[in-house]
């Protein structure tokens, strides 16, 4: 397996792919196992050339297959002709699962970021593979020097707005930083400013507590109306940065990745958040311990290298 060659490609063209950066992390994971010389990375537009040039053993499309330009018949045909395994690792399930129709007949392997979506693929080789974190991008030394009490970064989806609306009076007494896009002016601590990836990771590391609130925004999820179950990549990225995360429970799958109370703090209501604030904000040592344990778990189990190992195990046994 050491000598296998992997061609990693975007599942859609980069100019419209807001998650193109994640592909670099995946590449890093494969390079850690196979070595730089056996891992190739091309944009969607150049996959056919990449296949002909590098003659890999596996072509792995990573990303979203939703854009109208994402079409894979020609690539799949070329892979068949050259006896190359064709895999997809989709990172936007279940929000775009209706578009998976494009790949089901073409893929040898499908990896989906969302565990709850797996049964809805009528394909023999579908596997759950959550996203992960990159040590080179997301690791931060744990420090007790913090800049704010609560931090959240993300788009203001309705569920997130509802959560902060329920908490607005309570949170106003603290140093709170909520950033991202489309936040209403009624939330005094929210700012509509997008953070660069590096900046965001720094904020995780410099905040006492980081909210982890799921996404509720479907683009092509009308066929089965699925609800996501697997936490998104920011869960792993924040943990890699040593953040202490407050995870609003809409799925208990989080417990498969992090130990509640030891590595992550689960909440079901604003009341739970208040209890956490009372217990932890004046206890930097407990915060440091939880953050360090989450970081260690991430380093041990949730790097992209671990995900690459799963893929290789599935594909080559």
């Amino acid at each position: 397996m050491k000598h296998k060659r992997v061609l990693l490609a975007g599942a859609s063209i980069d100019p419209i792919n807001t998650n193109a950066l994640l592909r670099q992390h995946v590449e890093e994971g494969f390079v850690a196992i196979l070595g730089r010389e056996n891992v190739y990375h091309v944009a969607f537009e150049f996959v056919e050339r990449g296949i002909l040039h590098y003659e890999p053993d596996l072509v792995l499309f990573f990303g979203s297959c939703m854009p109208d330009t994402s079409e894979y018949h020609a690539m799949a045909h070329l892979c068949r002709k050259k006896n190359i395994q064709l895999g997809f690792w989709l990172h936007d399930d279940p929000y775009e699962i209706d578009c998976s129709e494009k790949i089901v007949d073409l893929a040898d392997f499908i990896f989906t970021n969302d565990k709850g979506s797996v049964p809805f693929y009528d394909h023999e080789r579908v596997f759950h593979l959550p996203l992960a974190a990159s040590p080179s991008h997301h690791f931060r030394e744990i420090s007790t020097e913090k800049e704010c009490d609560f931090f959240f970064c993300g788009v203001a989806f309705p569920n997130r707005i509802a959560f902060f609306n329920d908490m607005v009076a309570f949170l106003s007494a603290y140093n709170v930083r909520v950033q991202g896009a489309e936040w209403p002016q009624t939330l005094p601590f929210a700012r509509n400013r997008r953070l660069f990836s590096e900046e965001q990771v720094d904020c995780y590391a410099r905040s006492r507590l980081t909210f982890n609130l799921g996404r509720c925004f479907n683009l092509a999820n009308h066929k089965y109306m699925l609800t996501p179950t697997t936490p998104g990549p920011r869960t792993f990225e924040a943990a890699m940065a040593g953040a202490v995360q407050i995870y609003l429970v809409e799925s208990l799958e989080i417990c498969e990745y992090y130990e509640p109370d030891e590595e992550i703090l689960l909440v079901d209501s604003p009341k739970d958040v208040k209890q956490i604030a009372e217990r932890f904000l004046d206890d930097p040592e407990s915060l440091r311990r939880i953050g360090a344990q989450a970081q260690k778990k991430t380093m041990d189990q949730h790097r992209y290298q671990h995900r690459a190992e799963v893929i290789m195990q599935v594909v080559w046994g």
Partner: protein
Amino acid sequence: MESRSIHDMAAAPCTGHIIRKGHIVERKCNWRILFLDTKIGNPNHYLAVAIVQALRLHHDVEMVINANYGNAVSSAQRNQCNLFFAFDGEGLDRYVCSKLAEICGSSIVWNVEDPYEIRGNVANMDLFDLVFTNDAGSVQDYRERGRHLPLAASVNQHFREIPPKYRYDLFFAGVPWPNRVELLQRIISDIRDLKVKLALPTNEHLPLLNIDLPPSTYEWRTSNGEFCNFSNQSRINLLLHRKFTVSGGRPEALTPGPRLFEVALAGGFQLADEGIPGLNSIYDEGVDYAAFSDAQDCVDKIRYYLKHEDRRMEMLRSARKKTKQAHLYSNRVDDILSEVSSLHKAASVCVNSSRPKRMLMVCHNIAGRIPYGGVETYMDMCLPFIRDEFDCFFYVSASNTTYNTDYLLLDANYKELKRVSTLTTGGWPCQYLLSCPQKEQAFAAVLSEYHIDLVHFNHLLGHVPSLIYIAKACGIPTLLSVHDYYPLTHHFNLVGPDGVYSDQLLSGNHNLDIHLRETEEIQAGSQAIRKAFWSAALSHVDVIHVNSAYTRDVLLEYYPHLEGHVVQRGIPVRPMAVAGREDGASSEMLRILVLGNVTRIKGGEVMFKIFKYASPDKFEFHVYGQVSKDYMDAVKTMPHVQCHGAFSNADLRNITRDMDVSLHLSVWPETYCMTLSEVWQAGVIPVVTALGALKERVIHQSNGFLVEPNDVGGVLDVLDEIYSSPELLKRMRENITPSMYEGLDDHVDWLLTLYKNMTKQVWGSTSNETAAFSLAKCGRVIQHPVWAKFAPDSHYLMLLKFYKATTLKKRVIYYLLAANRLRRRAGNWKFFMMSVREILVRLGVVK
């Protein structure tokens, strides 16, 4: 309509043995099941997944196809399925289901939304041999076909180990029907000290929730898998029933829903409303679950069972044991297949019909409707032979405008049977559209109402390419003839409005983008969208017919995955008896034939110069076809050029009889060129452009002459050479053989054989249901139906706004904006005039 006769019938499939887990198990039947969830957008599809899993593990089941509306009929035909299993019942498409019932022979439905959807379900019961219903109270509605079958649980999906510790005291997830909300409102204040998890996702039919909790704690949804995790992690799970319907059915089921079984298998202890009908017939109160009578009793029981873990454990273990024994989907599947087998219904294994098969030609135009060309002539030529064996129909644009909204269904004599009017998505012309729901539905309706068995797409100009998906969804095989490059680009002869052809146009990612940008202001990336859609659509075409190796190579270079779909066969010519020509030139003058229209695309510029510079003393040109207005005035003054106007095929013999040489100087890579075959047949020696199929078919100085595109001098050199050596013609004529062109008889034999093979497996349906398909219903999701992205200030968008404007003032404004934009784009007035003309035609100002 003739009735269908099934020639070959067999008894229900019952033979064989299978080996499972080391034991030989008798296989009583070999069910080949076509499974279809009838409801699009079904949040309960996980039930379907569980049933499919159970079916696939059943020893009497050979195969299960988990289909959708886009592939169900074709899959059932291809796999010769013998049982149609419809699931859910809601949203059922009668056309698809009636066809599946016919194809499979046996058909069942498991309705899981009774009694709430009972009205619709009863209306559809005629399609099925047996109707299984989740609700005991609905069985009698289905009379002798009705069977009660409660939902169940799946080990794969729902089983959980009993946890060492619990996260919640109480859990309830479900739609907040009014009766449920009433109870929750009454108990919530009494259990504030408990760790409660509620999920109450509401919908537009329900009144606003009024529960004394922060909304973020209960306004969320959970997946079925996570529902089981929450049930498993909670000491007590509330089981509340539903009393509500918006579909005109009865508001309360007499059998509990699936969550009863799912929670039991997930190891959850259940505290149920004792009023839930049917609960006691499945589980025993006090043994498998506890029950409460009212809100106060509910609170009391919650507190009691939180204190008595041993009692909870006893009951949840008992419920789980019973579920594993009797309430899994494997049990239900056993019951279903046992019932179906007892019908002893014959299953069809060969699908034939005594009526002639019906084929539909899809094209932009037909022969005789000017302007028409080679494609229409081809169809017209084959028609007399095809209609001897097939009932033929045509589906063509009603007008020649690109804003085509009307289509004509014609019979084999081109007589109008039906006129179909459709809206066009966003007012866009068809050439920029990938999909248009109105056109798709109109096409589906034609296919179903006229019981079409085969679709031959001859051209999709004026249509939308998504029609390919519609034919497939109807289970109709498709043949697509590639007569030009329309499947690759809407500039179907690879020449844009600027009249320039480049052989680099299709290479790389940028050339076509640049071309579209410069000719039509279409933004970069648009062609990639078109290519992606066509690429996928073409993979659904059963057979792609190309006329030449050149066309095949270009097509496969662009869409390599179509390799296995493509067949090559030329376009035929009508046989023409020509007297043997012994001599060289026919007279002292060399008589040169131009067969077809003299337009820019056909080499009009080159020909005009040839006419101009060729010696009138040696050469005589005879043009049969329309001469473009660009050249007509000048050509009229040339005594050695005779313009004879349009010709009919019947005139060909006379036209070609005295001709020596013909010119075929297209500036685009022709895909075949029928006139080349026609002149060869008459012994005329062609001079052709060394491009496309012309280059492929003509061997230089053997059966014709090749010249480079736009090489006026090259053509004149060739003509001089022939003039000076008349014996050259005689020698070359000897090289012309019938193998160089496609004969009509051979072609029709090939075509009819192809049609017959393609329709061999097609079910000659007698269903009178009308198909209602759109691309989305076929399961194909696209973000935008228009592939062409125009710059916001492009003249084209201004013209579109002009067209759609409702007031004269707005029209004037948009017209001026478009004109101004074009004024700044020097050299494109012609395209501007074309666009304006389209609009005027659309408005009915000009024809």
